[in-house]
Subunit: 545 residues, 2 copies
């Protein structure tokens, strides 16, 4: 049996576009003389469809696509993911299903049993878990069809579910496991995925064809990296990251084993490529082309400019330098040099006069008050407004340049530097921003060394440095990582040797600034715990705050 | 047996504060000579605790409170809700539990079986459903302890769950049902609640003591309205809405039935009271006092000013009138009159000079472009910035005044009139804003009639009217309601008789403006489907857009 796997970049709700991609891949697989082609989870409607699933109209459109595949495809079996209806009145109305279509028939539908409902996932919101498990027979082979999480309850110390679908399916003596996935990227995901696939392959002594989405859907990035694993636990093949790819394999070859084509996984390199795809797909899938951002001369806006240029092309990225009376000369010069290195359009708009007009308007109400964070915020907000004005006038979407460390502790101005349609590095800690900047320069200087080396400053008052109000980023990032990614509490973090006062202050800052993060743009997710839909915190709480 | 019910306003994560409230209520119940006092769901930690539940430290604090109740309370049994740990390694790590504490012992723990995972609810994200059901015996009575949703699978046409906890418990011949709830307000909820309680009481022929939270947690408002229902289906008592209340009942009296104390439920009156509580608790629970908002002379900011004044007191509400060259005289006069009626501080800051300073700064880049939405947005954003500056300087939190109709179709400026910490009427359609304004005037004119009667306008260009770019609100609201609350698709809405072009345009506007709503403040929830955490839509989708 020859099996094709199709790792494609689908688009949520774009049924016509997704179906066209599927039909094109089927043609390629037929040219390869494949017997069956396997697509990824919910490929018909894109993943995650979220509350679109609550619309009967949306479900009907998916059903129409399945029907078109059934009636129009011949000479190959097709395995696709789509929502299906639960015929039983009790329970949720839908299943998350894999359809096995061949010879003008839907030969089998396997429903997902393990419904991820954590982090960015909300599947139990929509779907009823499967309670029956059946292998599909096709051309003399018995196929165990599983959907994404269904294989993830194996090899865990703390299993999330009480059942294990493959333990049921194995009783029916399958020859091969198919897994249709939509498993999002984090910089740890590549290794976790191989680990889980191997745990299954070793437990059940079967080859596995694991097919993942690629491309980004708003903040969620899918890295592809689909895996064909032999029963000996060797990676027979691993498809490229972040790229579409269709490839065919003789099942007999896969079963032989002995080949190892696992790809290297470099954290910063993966983050870099993920962010480029994240920016590119945000624009492409919204039908947009052009971005704009403010270049401050600091490292955050510098790396965002680089990523945007790589994602959209130099001709589609425009930057604005917006110095104030507090900006240092080197900031403007460094920013200009970066823009020249990137060959992108830059303009300079000084904000001092607008700032003065605000001071004049507010003067009668601000009598006997001192320069404080108010005036700092006004500068940041003027910049945000100027960018939004350029955006409204010329159609360039504003890219937000806040990093995860600042977003965490609220070191940013709402409607100012926190403005923008997409937070490109909103899930990247400051120390990772440095690493990413060095990585961006690996084939020659793009970001001027001075930008990477100088002390970080918001330049909103004379001689301001980030370190005036924040602990050093090496320390801050470590504490934030323990609190955010690892969900450690104050007691546990202090026990690691961090200063108690420092820890309590940082955790308090994180919790008290939930209201700011609530109102910011979606941040491209590259870690196991990003701000946004994957981290849901009360604003009005009184916990560690 | 005498049973007390305690309908209290808890605060998420405020373990000390919640425990103090619980102990105080226990003392009152003891003075009433009650045998048992019943509190609401997760009262120990507040509801909804959201991802705080992922912190072991948070769970430990809840456990410490249970321990303090166990060791310090005597002479009365106490039923409280708190998270508890799942001792089984498979499945989620927690249960959502009701603790029955008496005589220095935790006599029983009942876990919630039906975990709402829809709209604003994410319970399966955290909790394992109960699989065992046992009544508790106390002083000769057999008590069926249920948690909130556990009673909601009875009397439904389309049940969400495959099991029904009371069907299990009834086999053990209970004498009475306790239900610990945290069931949020919507203007339809009061009737739904009575309907569901009655369906249970009639099916199981038992009295029910249903105890609900009251007060607001960010956007989610709990209305209280706890119910004691007799086996004959009569409302023996219904506690007040939106207020704390502790009351005791002889079980024998309740069992007799024949008394009907159901409260009247007026949609607009309930919305009014809910919003007042929503504003009040947002401030109180964040430790804040003072609000600020922009008064435009229009109806939206007018009703928000009224609600704020009623929630926080006249001395804590400040308004700014920010006319431009496009503002009509009547706008300023109407706004001033309203401020005077409310006896709140108002100031006037003209925005024309700031606007001109932006035009000057942007002039070199805007050559050969025409006045368009860019310049309109600049005006709205200057107003937003001025309010934020006043907020930063004086500590008043900015109240957002966008209504649900505008938020739906994106008729608002991000970082401009969409700024603010809390969207007070963000879940109130424009036609409901009118009704609410008339309601606010029911005891005498507070909102000047002219504000209610004039044609709505954003006044961002000469002679602008909302009706220039939007259909009449009567029509718009009806279509939005079908799409948002009722999840009807274009086909279904058109079949109701609405114009096809109009319907498709409005649905497209709703979907294309998801990015704006993503970045706005939490909106106090008063309907069955509010924007925000209860409605999760892809930004980068291609569905009806």
């Amino acid at each position: 049996m020859k099996i094709s796997i199709a790792q494609l970049n689908f688009h949520i709700g774009n049924f016509e576009g997704n179906l066209a991609k599927i039909l094109e891949a089927i043609n390629i697989a037929k040219q390869d003389k494949a017997d069956v082609i396997v697509f990824s989870e919910l490929c018909i409607c894109g993943y995650p469809p979220r509350d679109f699933l609550e619309f009967d109209d949306f479900i009907r459109q998916g059903e129409a696509c399945i029907e078109r595949l059934r009636t129009s495809v011949s000479g190959i079996a097709v395995v696709v993911g789509a929502p299906s209806r639960n015929p039983v009145i009790e329970g949720k109305d839908l299943f998350n299903s894999a359809f096995f279509i061949a010879d003008g028939e839907v030969k089998a539908i396997a429903h997902k049993a393990l419904l991820p409902t954590y982090d960015i996932f909300d599947e139990y919101r929509y779907f009823e878990p499967a309670s029956e498990f059946n292998v599909v027979e096709y051309k003399g082979k018995r196929i165990a069809m599983t959907v994404c999480e269904d294989i993830w309850n194996v090899g865990n110390d703390n299993p999330l579910y009480t059942i294990c679908p493959m333990d049921e399916l194995i009783k029916q003596n399958p020859d091969v496991i198919f897994n249709l996935s939509a498993s999002p990227f984090s910089y740890e995901q590549g290794n976790s995925r191989i680990h889980v696939i191997r745990a299954n392959v070793e437990r059940y002594k079967l080859p596995m064809f694991y097919v993942n989405h690629c491309g980004a859907q708003t903040e969620v990035i899918f890295d592809g990296g689909s895996v064909v694993m032999s029963p000996d636990g060797k990676v027979h093949d691993e498809l490229p990251y972040f790229e579409e790819c269709i490839k065919s394999y003789e099942l007999a070859d896969v079963c032989k084993g002995g080949i190892d084509r696992e790809r290297p996984k470099d954290k910063i390199g993966l983050i870099h490529d993920a962010l480029v795809v994240g920016v590119r797909d945000y624009f492409r899938k919204l039908g947009l082309k052009k971005a704009i951002l403010g270049l401050s001369g600091g490292i955050d806006s510098a790396i965002v400019a680089v990523l945007a240029q790589r994602a959209l092309g130099a001709e589609n990225v425009r930057v604005i330098l917006m110095p104030s009376q507090f900006s240092s000369d080197h900031s403007v010069n460094d920013a200009r040099k970066l823009a020249e290195n990137l060959n992108i359009q830059y303009d300079i708009i000084k904000i001092e006069d607008v700032y003065e007009s605000y001071m004049k308007a507010l003067g009668p109400h601000f009598t006997a008050t001192k320069f404080n964070v108010t005036e700092e915020n006004i500068q940041a907000r003027i910049r945000g407004m100027l960018l939004m004005a350029m955006s409204n006038k010329f159609g360039n979407i504003v890219l937000n340049t806040s990093n995860k460390s600042e977003a965490a502790v609220g070191y940013g101005t709402l409607y100012g530097d926190m403005a923008g349609g997409l937070a490109v590095i909103g899930d990247v800690y400051k120390m990772e921003v440095y690493a990413l900047s060095r990585y961006a320069n690996k084939d020659g200087e793009v970001i001027p060394e001075n930008i990477i080396n100088k002390a970080p400053s918001a330049e909103l008052r004379p001689d301001q440095k980030d370190s005036d109000s924040l602990p050093p980023y090496e320390l801050l990032d470590e504490i934030l990582y323990q609190y955010i990614e690892k969900r450690q509490g104050p007691k546990e973090i202090i026990a690691m040797g961090f200063d108690e006062k420092q820890v309590r202050r940082i955790l308090r800052l994180v919790n008290r600034n939930e209201f700011k993060r609530y109102q910011t743009a979606p941040a491209l997710r590259v870690s196991t715990k990003a701000f946004g839909m994957g981290r849901r915190m009360p604003i009005v709480g009184k916990y560690l705050s």
